[in-house]
Symmetry: C2
C-alpha cells in the first residue's frame, strides 16, 4: 500500500521524527570523518553524510554544515588553517565514527574520545584517520551561505588521495566497496554494499 | 600497499580517468531520477547522484548541476514551472535510469526513450516515475551559483512524499533499503545495500 505525507503533515510531526524522515528520504548518503586542527595543535574529528562531488577539473568536493551544531569546531579549524581531511568509514570503525557526533567540549579531541588514531602525512597540517582505508587531504576554497536556513556549504580542492593500491582501476574508478567503505541512511542507519553492475557511458 | 596521488598527478591524468576517480572518492552517493516538465507539457527525466539534505524544518533537499550538461533541460523546466520530482532508483530500473544520462534532443522525453512511466498525482504539475517506490514532490526555493567552477546548487522544499506504507518506522526513519533503493559509486557503478546496524543518538 502506498501512503502519502504532505508538507502540512510533515510540519505537524514531532521535530526529531521529522528529522529522521527528511534525513532518510534523500537516499543513501556519502559517509566520512572530517579531520581538522587549530593553530594551537588541538585536533578535531566529526562525522558527515553530505560529501558531494562538485567538479573534477580541478578536483572539488563539498560538504554541508549547520553553524550551531557540534560541527562548528570543524568550521573554525578549517578557517584557522585552510586545510582538512576527508576519511572513509568502514565496518570496523563506524561505531567510533558515529560517536564523534556527541557534543564534546573543544578541549577534548574526538580522536581521543573515540580511540581513533590521528595520522600526519607528508607535512600536511590536518590529521588523517589512520583506520580509514581511503584518506583525502583537502584545501579550503569557497564558502557558500544558504540563506533559506543559514546552513553553510564548504568547497575544497583535493590535494592528495591515499588509498589501497589494489582498489584503483585502470580507468580511474576507485573501488570503494573493495576498500570497505560503507554508507548511511538517515541519521543512524549504517549499511554495507554489494555490487550490481558497472554500466557503459550512456548514448542515445 | 598504500598509494598516493597528489593534485599535480591528478591534473596530469587523462580527463575521463580523472572524472572517474574524483567522482568515486567522495563515497557512495544518493541516486535519484529528477522529473520535470515545461509549460508546453514536454516532460524530462534525468539521473542525479548529488541529492543532499539541507534541513528538516522546513524540509529541504538540494542537488548540484552543471549548466553545460544534459541536465540543462531539468534546470530550464524547474525555472519554468517552479516544481520537480525526486524519485528513488531500485534494482529493477537502474539500467533505464542510467540511460536517461544520454544526450537526447529536447523534443524527446527520456520517459519515452527509456520506457519509464510518467505518473501525475494530486494535481502536482511535475511527473513522478511510476516505477519508483519512493517519490517526492518538490518546489524550487533557492539557487546558489558556485563561483569556483560555475556549477549550480538547487534547493527545494518537500511538498509531498509517496512511499510504501510498511517502510516508514514509528520514529520517522524511512527504511529505504526495504523500499529497494540502491546507491552508486563513481559515475556508473551501481550497488545494493545490506544493513549493519542502527545506532542510538551519540552522547559524550
Amino acid at each position: 500500500m502506498i501512503s502519502t505525507l504532505t508538507l502540512e503533515q510533515l510540519m505537524e510531526m514531532e521535530q526529531r521524527q521529522r528529522a529522521h524522515l527528511i534525513n532518510s528520504i534523500g537516499g543513501f548518503k556519502s559517509l566520512a570523518l572530517i579531520g581538522s586542527i587549530d593553530r594551537q595543535g588541538q585536533t578535531n574529528l566529526a562525522i558527515f553524510s553530505s560529501i558531494v562531488h562538485i567538479g573534477s577539473n580541478p578536483p572539488l568536493l563539498s560538504f554541508i554544515m549547520r553553524p550551531d551544531s557540534v560541527e562548528r569546531h570543524t568550521l573554525a579549524n578549517i578557517f584557522d588553517t585552510g586545510f582538512y581531511t576527508i576519511n572513509h568509514i568502514n565496518a570496523q570503525i563506524y561505531e567510533q565514527a558515529h560517536q564523534t557526533a556527541a557534543r564534546y567540549p573543544k578541549i577534548i579531541s574526538e580522536f581521543d574520545a573515540t580511540r581513533l588514531t590521528p595520522q600526519f602525512k607528508d607535512e600536511f597540517v590536518a590529521p588523517f584517520v589512520k583506520e580509514s582505508s581511503i584518506q583525502i587531504g583537502m584545501e579550503f576554497k569557497e564558502r557558500l551561505n544558504i540563506s533559506i536556513n543559514q546552513t553553510i556549504m564548504i568547497i575544497g580542492e583535493v590535494k592528495a588521495i591515499h588509498f589501497p593500491s589494489d582498489c584503483l582501476l585502470p580507468d580511474g574508478f576507485m573501488n570503494i566497496e573493495k576498500a570497505g567503505t560503507i554508507t548511511i541512511a538517515g541519521l543512524d542507519s549504517y549499511h554495507s554494499t554489494q555490487p550490481l553492475q558497472r554500466l557503459p557511458y550512456a548514448k542515445p
